[in-house]
């Protein structure tokens, strides 16, 4: 069986099927990876570790222990749409920011949506991307700063705006 490493050596793009998460829909996400895409199993020196750790933290919000996929609080597993959009967004950000990809983490919303979170612990600024559970709902981008009590919220931001806000966060 071909491994990702052997695919790299052959310089051929490979279709990577991630075993986890298995979504609410029961279908795994399929991601088409070019040979240059960092891989969880590769030990190549160009791995963007912040990207990988953030992605790993995103995968960890999936709680498969609850059979119904929800409890009294709300969803215990993200929706298929939220998974796909979150992984796409992380990939897009990585494409723009490369080695400057900031280390973030994720939260599962009670609706089955996903929040992607980045914090600057020095300035207390915080950027949160709220990804809804359903395609027909809006993605929103929030930046907050406790030191001057200000915050801003954008609805359906572009990837360029998101990257700009993330760059601002760590200035």
């Amino acid at each position: 069986m071909d491994t990702i490493l052997s695919a790299k050596q052959q310089n051929k793009p490979r279709l990577i099927i991630y075993a986890k998460p298995s979504y609410n829909s029961g279908n795994p996400i399929k991601m088409f990876a070019s040979p240059s895409m960092p891989s969880v199993v590769s030990n190549s020196s160009n791995i963007n570790s912040s990207y990988q750790i953030t992605k790993q933290r995103l995968l960890e919000i999936d709680d498969t222990s609850c059979e119904d996929g929800e409890d009294d609080w709300g969803a215990t597993r993200p929706s298929s749409f939220a998974w796909q959009k979150s992984l796409e967004l992380l990939q897009e950000i990585e494409k723009y920011m490369k080695s400057n990809f900031p280390l973030g983490f994720a939260n599962l919303a009670s609706t089955g949506g996903i929040d992607l979170i980045w914090k600057n612990r020095r300035t207390k600024n915080e950027v949160i991307v709220f990804i809804p559970s359903k395609k027909d709902e809006n993605i929103s981008l929030y930046i907050g700063n406790l030191s001057d009590e200000k915050s801003k919220l954008w609805i359906n931001p572009s990837i360029q705006l998101l990257v700009t806000v993330l760059q601002f966060l760590y200035q």
Partner: protein, 117 residues
């Protein structure tokens, strides 16, 4: 609505929020509490307009918890909110505006005053 059975809480009282999600409520880098622990569920039907807290950090019946978050009543009141007791064990943080951005700002401020115990 205020339950007259229970007297107002003193500023010094500490109340506890059960951590009911393994990830997201606590910053994995610093162990600080995040906004997610105090965010209203505005998408619920009907909307959730209060945040449930407990009198003591004891696991409620039939609820999976991953620990507790502690916050002092005076820190809640300093944000223009209040906390009222509605049963022997349960209290509610009230007064959070049901506007997504304001509710999020408030959740972040509450999180900053809270700590994991």
């Amino acid at each position: 609505m205020l339950n007259q059975e229970f007297p107002p809480l003193s500023d010094e009282v500490r109340v506890y929020r059960a951590i009911i999600r393994r990830n997201g409520w606590i910053d994995p880098e610093t162990n600080d509490v995040t906004y997610a622990a105090f965010l209203l569920r505005l998408n619920k039907d009907p909307q959730e307009l209060t945040i449930s807290v407990l009198k003591s950090p004891k696991k409620p019946h039939m609820l999976t918890t991953y620990g507790f978050i502690e916050i002092q009543v005076k820190d809640i009141r300093a944000l223009g909110l209040d906390v009222v007791q509605d049963s022997q064990t349960h209290l509610s943080i009230i007064g959070i505006q049901p506007d997504p951005q304001i509710a999020l700002d408030t959740a972040r401020k509450l999180a900053r005053k809270a700590k994991v115990v």
